[in-house]
Amino acid sequence: MSTDTMLSEAAAQPPAKTRGRRMSSWMIMLVISGALIGLSLVHQLANAPDVTSSGAIQAALQAAVPLGLAGLGGLWAERAGVVNIGLEGQMILGTWFGAWGSLEFGPWVGLLIGILGGAVGGLIHAVATVTFGVDHIISGVAITILAPGVVRYLSYITWGSAGATQSPQVPHIPRVSVPGINGLKGLEEHEWFLVSDVAGVLRGLLYEVSLVTILAVLLIPLTWWLLWRTAFGLRVRSVGEDPHAAESLGLNVYRYKYYGVVISGAMAGLGGMYLSTVTSAIYREGQTGGRGYIGLAAMIFGNWRPGGLAVGASLFGYTDALQLRRGSESVHALLILVGALLLALAVWEFIRRNRLVAVASAVLGVLSYVLFFSVDKIPTPLVQAAPYITVLVVLALAAQRLRPPAADGKPFRRGG
């Protein structure tokens, strides 16, 4: 990754003004209500109820959680200075061990075993990168090559040749609802502008929510608190910013890197476990489908911060979920919103004299509208490609405003 630093320095614009980059709470409310009004408009203009239906929102939440957990995994590792592209492999371990543990010992023990499976994957990554100083990307790729083999073999010897790629039905952790929330169903069906949309969103978020979802959502503030408000977190972050300075202050750098990477694997394991026991009730080979990488992208989008990665995971999760719910119509309808956002961005960047970004987003925005008016439906494979395209476009537009930990991805040798 050594060329990265150099390139970004070469390509960097004048140093970004350090305005208050953190959003205040009223700004967050403004963004959320803006998004809701936008989606309601799309719903009405293109007659696409699944843009804000409770079913779609529920699916989006369930799609966002594994991405968010993978993102948290990425955050823990990279805050400690280790790039963990092996998240995908650790998630794969989580899917299988979560399903197997749930079948053998019940869902709660299964949760722990899934987390443990991912943590072991993280431990392997830590041994390779921290102790032996292997390039982080190479080790991560190796783990992602190893994990499917291990899982396939274990699957074969546990469930026989018929179960090599698929497990039996897996028991799941209970789901809970906010009392009375189902009463919103009537309101949602009325198709009133904004009111029905809000009802759909609330019902999607609060009805029949798995306890694991709640746990996962709580992990985001918990991670923030641990990393930014405790001595332990400060040490983890210092190791990712400047390991030599940390060492000179008497910190055991290796140990804190190990903590970061093992917690990272555990988070990814929980994300994988979520896929096989909450999103679906069965382990299937290839279930992760690159979500570890998308989670990493969500973390980059979130500028290596928990709140930002939650927003990124929600965005990518929402696009991921649409393919399940009449995606051809919904994605087509959403092109209105995407186009408007891109054109607005183009104007904003033009005022700020970022000509390249302005032109690029204007072209993409116009293309969105051309696509919207030229077809009625988006073909299914392209709907499935939507989350990946979203990742690329978002990173292309945002990547240069980001600040990774200073020693991220750099090998560190004790006493060096």
């Binding site: 150099m6 390139l7 990307i137 083999g149 690159g290 392209l382 990742v391 990173l395 990547a399």
Partner: protein
């Protein structure tokens, strides 16, 4: 001791650990997979013996070389990036997109006039151009917007596969009589690449593209070791700051390396497409990631990667026999995964040991010959 080694210009102290490393990794992989087999009540020795015997059959040898050709091309594509610290994880996507568009164009009806041999050239050229074009997206995102090529190539892999699914099923795909799946259409017979009868004792022929893979390996060696461009590439990989200070244009290097890598990646599926299936189907793929493993195992060295590709081909081809002995053939996946992981660790350790041995020797040399000039120390990575 050091004088004899010095005369041959080969530093045994540095080379030996580098050679022991892959062997050690293989031993570790064999040990771990033996444990896995023992856990499931199978005899590991029997499994290895049967795999070896099956692998030595002439028919299997042909299949091994066929697999090795694809893997080797993929590995060279990856290695071009690796040499300058660039991670092209997108070989998988670039290879699919390249082969798909080349196949679709070559079997389109308006191309009927073209003689077969010219069509083979056309397929090769188009596959390379499309592969490079697909890689250029990641290259431009990196140089213009600072997006890490690791993430962008992974996303492009997924997007490429889905775009092909869409074009194949909704637009350009045809279903041949008697077939179930959509393909880009069978190429006319005169553009089938003839096989090479280089394995004796069998009617089977090695895919003709094997020869292209060999030429590619030689070209790779030449470009990396004997050209200005190759020097700049390696210099950027070793120390980007020094390279930039000496006048290397970092952005241009990223774009060029990525385009070359993508162009080679475009060739990956052609051995099968020109010599076996004669069309593109959705069954293609999966070689890109294995190519990464082969490049890691072979340390980006043209001969190292060739050996690694043959080993990978052997493991993949001879696993079939395990099913007959009711041994789960999935054990091979563990073997491959452990090999990759332990080999990268072993190489790192070997480099450390080599460095330490070198330091000690230099220390001894400078201490004994106080007046003599210090021998030049070549810095290893």
């Amino acid at each position: 001791m050091s004088t004899a080694a010095g005369a041959r210009r080969i530093d045994v102290g540095k080379l030996l650990p580098q050679l022991i490393a892959p062997v050690a990794a293989l031993v570790i992989a064999a040990a771990i997979s033996s444990v896995a087999l023992l856990i499931s009540d199978k005899d590991p020795l029997l499994a290895f013996q049967h795999m070896y015997e099956f692998g030595m059959l002439p028919d299997t040898k042909v299949e091994i070389l066929n697999k090795a050709s694809e893997l080797y091309i993929a590995a060279v594509a990856v290695a071009f990036g690796f040499k300058m610290g660039l991670f092209n994880i997108g070989v998988e996507g670039q290879s699919k997109v390249g082969a798909f568009f080349a196949g679709a164009l070559a079997s389109a009806s308006f191309m009927d006039w073209m003689p077969g041999s010219l069509r083979i050239v056309l397929i090769i050229v188009v596959a390379m151009i499309v592969g490079a074009a697909w890689a250029s997206i990641a290259a431009l995102l990196k140089t213009q917007r600072g997006v890490s090529e690791v993430i962008s190539t992974l996303m492009l892999n997924a997007i490429g596969g889905l775009v092909i699914t869409w074009l194949l099923n909704d637009h350009w795909g045809v279903t041949e009589p008697g077939a179930q799946i959509k393909t880009t259409g069978i190429l006319s017979k005169d553009s089938w690449m003839p096989g090479l009868p280089i394995i004796s004792g069998t009617e089977q022929k090695v895919l003709g593209f094997f020869a292209v893979a060999v030429v590619l390996g030689a070209a790779y060696w030449f470009v990396i070791n004997r050209t200005r461009f190759g020097f700049d590439l390696r210099a950027t990989g070793y120390n980007p700051f020094a390279a930039v200070a000496s006048g290397v244009n970092a952005k241009r290097m990223v774009i060029t390396a990525m385009l070359i890598s993508g162009a080679i990646a475009g060739l990956v599926n052609l051995p099968r497409m020109l010599g076996e299936s004669h069309t593109y189907t959705e069954g293609f793929g999966g070689i890109g990631f294995a190519g990464l493993a082969v490049a890691l195992l072979g340390r980006n060295h043209p001969i190292g990667m060739a050996l690694a590709a043959i080993l990978w081909g052997f493991l993949a081809s001879s696993q079939i026999i395990l099913d007959i002995d009711s041994i789960p053939k999935e054990i091979v996946l563990i073997m491959q995964g452990v090999t990759v992981l332990s080999v990268v660790i072993a190489y790192e350790l070997a480099a450390r040991i080599g460095r330490r041995a070198q330091q000690r020797r230099v220390g001894v040399a400078t201490a004994t010959a106080t007046a003599a000039p210090v021998p030049a120390v070549e810095e290893s990575k």
